[in-house]
């Protein structure tokens, strides 16, 4: 197999930078796994539920709450579009009622965590990201540095940021700039 190259290869070098003292932020990255979009029309929900239940996911989730099970996550990103990670290969579901699309290479994940992670997020997006407003399990579609991203809250201080691969470096760099005052550690794979 050919080598899979992360768009963040040049960035994911273990190390520490920014403010001395406490490390408020940890940054890392991982590739997305089998990310597929399903899209439909009219009775999209019925068609989607069929796919999701085959994948062991129950329910469509909401526009802010992902449906998660068995290591899979499904995000309702629009009325008639759902994005599923770890979906396997959904090409066989393509029909006149459902369009499936492989986006596994279109995004990469930036891992943002640490005691100051919410502060960094509040510098990047104009959305209330305090714990009550954006608790674990919720997701947001928004923009970081003018780039459309999806942010999944993984816990009190942990977030996964799904960024388009061709914009990933620029998003990463801007996150780093914003994180510097908190002290940053980059965690390589």
């Amino acid at each position: 197999m050919l080598e899979l190259c992360s768009p963040l290869n040049s960035k994911l070098q273990a190390g520490r930078f920014g403010a001395q003292g406490e490390t408020g932020i940890a940054l890392g990255g991982r590739p997305v796994r089998d990310l597929w979009q399903i899209a439909g029309w009219g009775d999209f929900e019925a068609a989607a539920i069929e796919v999701l239940s085959d994948l062991g996911l129950c329910g469509l989730g909401s526009y802010s709450l992902a449906s998660r099970a068995k290591g899979r996550t499904a995000w309702r990103i629009a009325p008639d579009k759902i994005l599923i990670e770890n979906a396997g290969n959904l090409s066989d579901y393509m029909s006149a009622n459902l369009a499936t699309l492989d986006l596994s290479h279109a995004r990469t994940v930036i891992l943002l965590s640490g005691t100051q992670a919410r502060d960094v997020l509040s510098q990047l997006i104009a959305i209330d990201v305090t714990e009550t407003a954006f608790p674990e399990g919720r997701f947001l579609q928004t923009g970081i540095h003018h780039v459309g991203v999806l942010i999944q809250c993984m816990g009190q201080n942990a977030f996964e940021i799904y960024a388009p691969v061709t914009w990933a470096e620029t998003v990463w760099e801007v996150i780093c700039e914003n994180a510097k005052p908190f002290g940053v550690e980059i965690v390589a794979d």
């Binding site: 990103i77 629009a78 009325p79 104009a126 959305i127 579609q141 923009g143």
Partner: protein, 88 residues
Amino acid sequence: MIRIKCPICGLRNETEFTYGADATVKRPEMGEQEQQPWVDYVFNRDNPRGWHKEYWHHVQGCRQWVVLERNTLTHEIGECKLAREVEQ
């Protein structure tokens, strides 16, 4: 800051959107061969001083086009709906 309550994503700042245009002009049917309806659609505007229905595109979000009611004089915000749910 125009704040738009996207029916999908919730209340967001205008910076996540791009502004479209007047949402009251109706695109002629594809088969329309007369020029004037197209000129009216593409170029001419009521341009009201007051309440205005307008398209915004949630590009850094759900990528839905929405129709927002907004007052062009006071910048008050009214209802926001998915464009696909608005009768033209």
